[in-house]
């Protein structure tokens, strides 16, 4: 496939003209661009699916803290709560929230995760895809289809803006991850191509302006909990889209708005830890305390 897929319009047109699903278009493009087979593309995707599952499994049983000592024991708290009192929204909600948290906690304790699209947003896509996979007993092939669908959303968006908090704030990290997850959820639920992209765009619209203001510069506060919130956020977008609730603003224009919002965002709020939560009284204290700790421990 020689043409580029740098807008949702082009992606939808390609799906229509070739009568193919989004994941089919993307896997064929990837195979073409890198001179490998579709089978090889899917094998690479499967490796990532499996690594996501492994991170969840190990994250569910650990309470090891991060080097900073700030985070790492919240998954067990959530599990304990659900064991005593089931979540208001049921099993799936329990899974999504614990899996997102478990993955992010694996990340902060320097264990293995899949950056998706980044390490700081690594909990969102696995939480949604693996939870839905367990609920609907998805086959390996269906899991791969879902992850490629998610990846395609990130692929299109990244042609306009780098997926980095330093470039466009957390919109471009957890925001994009939530959009990717929403798309994969609609793929799993059997929505059409328009509904898949619409879900992603609805998710993006609701996080426009999300800043990146990590306390002490670490991928911990507020990143860990934000992954949990934005995993659930993805499901809301998927439900709306499956119901036929459409974005009134065309898909690609929403992404343009996101890019512009990222440009207008103060550099103090783009991964520099010079504003927002990072410079609250407590944020500054934590930062100072950690500097002393590093100095003491070498």
């Amino acid at each position: 496939m020689e043409y580029s897929i740098n807008t949702f319009e082009k992606l939808l047109r390609a799906c229509k003209e070739e009568n193919k699903k989004i994941y089919e278009i993307m896997q064929e493009k990837e195979a073409y661009d890198f001179e490998i087979t579709v089978k090889e593309v899917r094998e690479k995707v499967l490796k990532n699916v499996n690594a996501m599952k492994e991170a969840i499994v190990s994250g569910l049983t650990s309470s090891e803290k991060s080097f900073s000592g700030l985070c790492g024991d919240d998954t067990l708290k959530l599990k304990k709560r659900y064991a005593q009192i089931p979540a208001l929204f049921g099993d799936l909600y329990e899974k999504i929230t614990t899996y997102a948290l478990a993955t992010m906690e694996e990340n902060l304790r320097m264990n293995k995760i899949v950056a998706c699209p980044t390490a700081g947003s690594c909990g969102i896509v696995p939480a949604v895809i693996i939870s839905l996979s367990e609920k609907y007993n998805l086959t390996e092939e269906e899991e791969i289809n879902a992850l490629i669908t998610a990846g395609t959303i990130g692929y299109v968006i990244s042609s306009k803006v780098a997926m980095a908090g330093a470039v466009a704030g957390c919109q471009a990290e957890c925001g994009v991850a939530s959009a990717m997850s929403a798309a994969s959820a609609v793929q799993i639920l059997g929505g059409n191509e328009n509904q898949i992209i619409n879900a992603a765009v609805l998710a993006i619209k609701n996080i426009l302006g999300l800043t990146c203001d990590p306390v002490a510069g670490l991928v911990e506060i507020p990143c860990v909990k934000r992954n949990v919130f934005l995993a659930i956020h993805a499901i809301t977008a998927a439900e709306l889209s499956m119901a036929g609730v459409e974005s009134k603003i065309p898909f690609d224009e929403v992404i343009d708005a996101m890019v512009q919002t990222g440009q207008l965002m103060s550099p103090l709020l783009k991964e520099t830890s010079q504003g927002g939560l990072a410079t609250t009284k407590c944020g500054i204290l934590i930062n100072r305390h950690l500097k002393d700790k590093y100095f003491r421990e070498g």
Binding site: M26, D33, M110, V114, P117, G120, G151, Y155, M163, L218
Partner: protein, 222 residues
């Protein structure tokens, strides 16, 4: 420009917590290992700016060392690299500095072993890295291509001699950058290749008169 990939979005499978501060650090270490050509006996890592201020919390220190010892971004060794046998065999220490003229995430590897060498690199985001200096020479090594790095006497005809040899193996040159300290003194070349030169060809390049140093820096795994 780099060909965009689905796997820029999903992956790498990596040791957390940060693509720029952890995975990027490992990849810088790996490139420096390729440039140095072997494990050094001694190294000082001089971290600057964000690398210096938040590096410990991100395991940047561990990542740099692990990469220099040849471990990849998904290695289980990174987290406990200080307990690794390979790590115990070399001397290493860290320095932390502020220099706002430099990239926010930058590091000098001050190496000793067979030869002393200083290599400087930046982690430019999403796990992408660049080696910007070897000793006094500006370089452009990103690990996206197999890259030939040469130091040689600055005189006419050197680029042509090297490119003629590369052409013999029918390898396309993707980009070529040169730098020199003064006319007639030492110059450097970084040649990004679409293929990989053979060891035989590498030896021929080494044998060109007045070529002091040649390294085939292999591209990093995605």
């Amino acid at each position: 420009m780099k060909q965009r990939s689905l796997f820029d979005v999903i992956s790498p499978i990596m040791t957390g917590p940060s693509s720029s501060h952890t995975a990027g650090a490992v990849r810088l270490g790996l490139l420096v290992r390729n440039i140095y050509g072997e494990t050094p006996t001694k190294v000082t890592f001089r971290l600057y700016n964000s690398f210096a201020q938040t590096g410990k919390g991100h395991g940047t220190d561990k990542g740099l060392l692990a990469g220099l010892l040849g471990f990849n971004v998904d290695s289980d060794e990174i987290k406990n690299i200080y307990d690794n046998e390979e790590a115990k065999r070399i001397k290493y220490n860290y320095e932390f500095e502020q220099n706002l003229d430099m990239h926010p995430n930058s590091v000098d590897f001050i190496l000793d072993g067979k030869i002393p060498m200083i290599v400087s690199g930046n982690s430019v985001g999403a796990g992408n890295v660049e080696i910007v200096k070897i000793d006094d020479f500006a370089t452009k090594i990103s690990g996206e291509y197999n890259t030939l790095v040469l130091f040689y006497k600055d005189k006419p005809g050197m680029i042509s001699k090297v490119s003629t040899l590369i052409q013999k193996e029918n390898i396309n040159i993707a980009s070529l950058d040169c730098d020199r300290n003064a006319r007639g003194k030492t110059a450097s070349m970084c040649i990004c290749l679409d293929g990989n030169v053979s060891d035989i060809l590498l030896d021929e390049i080494k044998k060109i008169d007045d070529v002091y140093f040649v390294r085939n820096v292999k591209k990093l795994e995605a």
